[in-house]
């Protein structure tokens, strides 16, 4: 008899579990060997705590009342719970703090899309180490993790979360208009972006072209030159921040697989400064992401800079399999 489980959840059977366990161990080994201690937090938090972390949402996607009538929620990532943990348990500790995790998180899904409500993430949080060195360390750990997973072709995209907010402020675009331009940018709808920008009053054709051109700049350090030639204080500040990070990555010898990407815009509300995304040529989906969230801990009463990343474990596992079959001369991708 078949007893269904909710869409977007799944059982894992021994063959897959064995492979996942190897992946888990390899990743945790990388994290621990670099001084990142593993932590675990409850899957259920007070909704108020999760909402405090991510200002844009009202908390987790799955909320319910406990026996006292308190509103609880399932976490949607590990960054906010760890910010909460650091603020409560390590307020007096000496910075920097290095923590890692391997845990399930929960997000709302759109039906019929094969999306997962419950998914596993592995990642690190580096608290109390500012840009650019803190960011560079996180990228270094990320690259080591990708290698340990066998994804030696994987690439890390590096962008700046503040670029467009500051650029649009410089152009005098604010409020709702700014939000809808940012949304077009996040969706990477260039046709819509151009239409949106040219419909705005008080923004010149040149400024519109700058914004569109910036979002298409991606590649090696040469794109920073190209960006600077577009001019403006916001671009100058963002490229300076990225340049510093890139230089720090070069010092550590881990810049080769980093692609600077000025079109990067992650949709999580707490990012500031550097943002990261991870791709593997074997997979059409993003493997993970991260970046800096220097303002997040302050929302929990501890004013410390922070950075981190998370990898979607199921996707890493798929990419692993694709890469293996490619090495064996299998599929075309």
């Amino acid at each position: 008899m078949i007893h269904p489980i909710p869409p977007g959840t799944r059982d894992v059977l021994p063959d897959e579990m064995r492979e996942l366990r190897r992946l888990h161990l390899a990743l945790i080994e990388v994290f621990e060997s670099r001084g990142y201690g593993q932590v675990s937090t409850p899957a259920i938090e007070y909704n108020e705590v999760l909402a405090r972390g991510d200002g844009r949402t009202a908390g987790g996607a799955y909320r319910f009342f406990d026996e006292r009538g308190d509103l609880l929620a399932l976490r949607s990532d590990m960054t906010v719970p760890i910010a909460r943990l650091v603020a409560s348990r390590y307020a007096e500790a000496k910075a920097p703090l290095r923590l890692c995790y391997l845990a399930n998180a929960y997000r709302a899904i759109r039906p019929q899309r094969g999306q997962m409500r419950e998914f596993a993430q592995a990642g690190v949080e580096l608290v109390g180490s500012p840009a650019p060195q803190g960011t560079a360390e996180v990228v270094e750990v990320l690259e080591a993790a990708l290698d340990a997973a066998g994804l030696t072709r994987a690439v890390v995209g590096l962008g700046d979360a503040d670029l467009y907010r500051q650029l649009l402020a410089e152009f005098g675009v604010e409020g709702e208009a700014r939000d809808s331009v940012l949304e077009r940018l996040a969706m990477h709808d260039l046709v819509g972006l151009e239409a949106e920008l040219s419909a705005l009053e008080g923004i010149s054709e040149e400024q519109c072209a700058t914004c569109v051109a910036l979002s298409q700049l991606r590649g090696g350090s040469e794109v920073l030159e190209q960006a600077r030639s577009l001019g403006g204080a916001a671009v100058e500040r963002a490229t300076a921040r990225i340049q510093e990070t890139y230089d720090a990555l070069k010092e550590r010898g881990v810049a080769d697989r980093v692609r600077i990407d000025l079109g990067l815009l992650r949709d999580l509300g707490y990012y500031s400064g550097a943002i990261l995304e991870v791709y593997d040529p074997a997979l059409g989906h993003v493997l993970g992401g991260g970046g800096r969230y220097d303002g997040l801990l302050r929302r929990f009463g501890l004013d410390l800079p922070a950075a981190g990343f998370a990898l979607y474990l199921e996707r890493v596992h798929v990419a692993q399999m694709e890469e293996e079959s490619r090495e064996a001369g299998g599929t075309t991708r």
């Binding site: 030696t152 690439v155 046709v191 991606r218 791709y279 040529p281």
Partner: protein
């Protein structure tokens, strides 16, 4: 298409770029645009039943327009051409919309029977219009935005049939010349939006095959600008 990508090194994906070409109404103009952009399409113009056409530079994959976002989102195709109507209907698919190709111009409209007041009457007396469409999400968004209540009925085949035999008060559909409407005694009541063909890219391909994607975008931009 042997463009070198600066510093891509080990990240270079394998094989030629895969481009999803829409069969159906956009097929001819899509092939013309590709020709103008320097991509050989002679093989596709024959009556071959093949779905995949390979050349050393690029692989062309033909499919229904509404499948293009699915293939491109998953990365099974790196880039593709499809209508804005399809992208709007499948707005939850994550694809990068890089270029308005300008052809395949048509209007998404609300239409009702000529001289028939069913639309207005249903709204006034029943508080609700029944609308048949192949584009339920576009239709729902339009009526929500204009503050009207509707029952959206999704149909797969000829939408024009629905108001003629009483399934719906009106239809939301794509109109190019208006001939089909006329033949079925229907008329345009409202214009919802204008649609053209768009060039889209997979998110990861846009990052990892930046040089190739940008070069193709530039050539298509030039080819369709005329």
């Amino acid at each position: 298409m042997s463009i070198e990508v600066a510093g891509m090194g080990r990240a270079k994906a394998d094989g030629p770029l895969k481009l999803a070409v829409p069969r159906g109404a956009l097929f001819g103009e899509a092939l013309d645009a590709l020709d103008a952009a320097g991509i050989e399409t002679a093989e596709l113009r024959g009556d071959s039943r093949s779905l995949i056409f390979e050349s050393p530079d690029i692989t062309l994959v033909t499919m229904r327009p509404s499948d293009v976002p699915t293939y491109v989102e998953a990365g099974a195709a790196d880039v593709g051409i499809t209508g804005k109507d399809v992208l709007l209907e499948q707005s939850d698919r994550v694809v990068y919309e890089l270029l308005d190709l300008g052809f395949g111009r048509c209007r998404m409209v609300l239409a009702g029977r000529v001289g028939d007041e069913r639309l207005g009457e249903s709204e006034r007396r029943l508080g609700m219009m029944r609308i048949a469409t192949k584009y339920p999400r576009v239709a729902e968004r339009h009526f929500e935005r204009t503050g009207r209540q509707v029952e959206v009925i999704e149909v797969k085949g000829s939408v024009e049939l629905a108001p003629l035999i009483g399934l719906a008060d009106g239809i939301v559909d794509l109109v190019a010349t208006g001939r089909t409407l006329k033949e079925n005694d229907l008329e345009v009541r409202e214009e919802i939006l204008l649609c053209t063909a768009r060039f889209v890219a997979n998110r990861v391909a846009h990052k990892l095959r930046a040089g190739e994607v940008d070069a193709l975008t530039a050539r298509l931009r030039e080819a369709t600008a005329a």
